[in-house]
Amino acid sequence: MLFIALKNLFQEKTRLFISVGGVAFSVLLILILQGLLQGFSFRIGEYIRKQDADLWVGDARARDMFHSISLLSIADEEKIEGVEGVESVSPFLARQVVVATAHKETATYFIGYDATTGVGGPTKVVEGKETPSNGEIIVDRVFAGNHKVKIGDNLIVGQSNFKVVGVSTGTNLVSFQYSFVTKEDAERTLSMTGQTNYFVVKLKDNSDRERVAQEIKQNLPTVKVFTKEEFVDRNTEIVRDTFLPVVRVLLVIGFIVGVAVIGLTIYTSTVEKSKEYGVLKAIGVRNSQLYKMVFAQSLVAGVSGFLFGSLMALVVNLVIDRFVPAFITYFRLIDFGWVFLASVLMAILASYIPIRRIAMVNPAEVFKG
């Protein structure tokens, strides 16, 4: 009986278009929101992941890199180096600061780049110098775009003046961007001489990470030692905690919109065709067969909406990425998987009321003119 479902569905092309379009926009909303959440989370993690480090050592009282300050004495470096299995230890200096452009003051995440170890460097430089010298700064492409900053311009942080010499990508965190100066400039500008925010620890091959972490902790009781994965998780946790509840609400709204659109269009179609359903009942078509027909219509609308919505999300992502670089999205296959399941669930829920309507159709009514 599924062919009747499809024929009914395609008979009213405008209604089908509205139904599929509604679900597609709902899927687009869900995927973009989820993509933004993942993109933001991924971008924060990406920078940490790209640092050549096995362990990160920070102040035990600091929650993460962005929302609390970890302060460690540079003298602790020796104590960490002394632990068996440690190959190298590098200070990692970074903090959010106010930067003055020619137009306004804004925030940037200011990182001290040690060119000799590679710690604290930009992810990818797309314009200008790859390594800043003292008095120079590399800014993110989104930062440059947002604040109309170009190579050769001057930026002021505190009492220090920096000349823009490079532009990087992969260093945008939506609400602020990374900027890179030399380690010495960072120490001076942040008044961190003799101090650092974190130590980045590289281990010798075949070293036991757990044991090394344990020994560092024994040597320095006020620090917390993270593996790279733990540190990524700690820093992305804040994104999940801050944005996930908001995103969840929006995802639920998107889901409800999808259910409502399919539900209303299929219900309208069911009401319009209730006499035809009565005829089918009269000639002997079972209720279960009719329910399957309605569900099939709902499912086709849901799955088509998912396909169009996914395609739209990919296209929108490409377009926005080109024109609005601050828009960070990251689509995972698993997200498409669960949005597909959500679309099927939309179809199931949306078919409930039309099915109830069909259950109430009295086949004897078809004899009334």
Binding site: M1, F10, L280, R286, F367, K368
Partner: protein, 238 residues
């Protein structure tokens, strides 16, 4: 006997507002017999045919079709019973607007679990028998009233039911088309020994009926012979 109704009574409403739509009606319809039920509006014709088709339960009495008392059948068994044993023809054709002629006729076969390919072949054969060989793929909107009713007849007959119940089958047709459609129905019914019950105001249908039953205020009041034998020797009809 194909269809036996014993003392059927149907009452709508309760108390002093109740209406006895069918009042103690009994009838026997033989295989191959065409019976016309006539009566004024509100006489209970449609209620009676609805009960005979197992779409409405009587308050009293029984309806036995092919030795099965359908008034005692469970609700969930009735659709299958109708699908196997009864073909319906409606006043306003009631063919599905999204389907073409062939698909409309194939619906009851597909509902019985027959493959779409075989159902399509059978539907097309039937439509050709009814003179619609050129209209197999036409939608209802492209068919005339007479053609739509022939599609409806094909749909009613394609599952080879023993009983055909037709409610005012010529009401929406002009006299030429109405007569032609009834001759087609009668021809196929005669040829395949089916019992046909037609409810109608249309006096011309007497020409194809073996018997005419008159109903008034829910009661059968008169029975007379139809003109079936005079005009419906089936070898000349189909």
């Amino acid at each position: 006997m194909s269809l036996v109704a014993n003392n059927i009574t149907k009452v709508f409403g309760k108390g002093h507002t109740s209406v006895k739509a069918v009042n103690n009606v009994s009838l026997n319809i033989l295989p191959g017999e065409v019976v016309l039920i006539m009566g004024p509006s509100g006489s209970g014709k449609t209620t009676l045919i609805t009960i005979l088709g197992g779409l409405l339960s009587p308050n009293e009495g029984s309806v036995v079709i092919n030795h099965e008392d359908i008034t005692k059948l469970k609700e969930d068994k009735l659709p299958s019973f109708r699908l196997e044993n009864i073909g319906f023809i409606f006043q306003s054709f009631n063919i599905l607007s999204a389907l073409n002629a062939t698909e409309n006729v194939a619906v009851p076969l597909i509902a019985r679990g027959i493959s779409q390919k075989k159902a399509t072949e059978a539907a097309q054969d039937f439509l050709k028998r009814l003179g619609l060989g050129e209209r197999l793929n036409n939608r209802p909107s492209d068919l005339s009233g007479g053609e739509k009713q022939r599609v409806a007849i094909a749909r009613a007959l394609v599952t080879n039911p023993s009983i055909i119940l037709a409610d005012e089958p010529t009401a929406n047709l002009d006299s030429k088309n109405g007569h032609e459609v009834m001759l087609k129905l009668c021809g196929v019914a005669c040829e395949e020994n089916k019992s046909v019950v037609i409810v109608s105001h249309d006096q011309r249908i007497k020409d194809i009926a073996h018997r005419v039953l008159w109903i008034e205020d829910g009661k059968l009041t008169k029975e007379e012979e139809g003109n079936h034998k005079k005009v419906c020797p089936h070898e000349n009809l189909v």
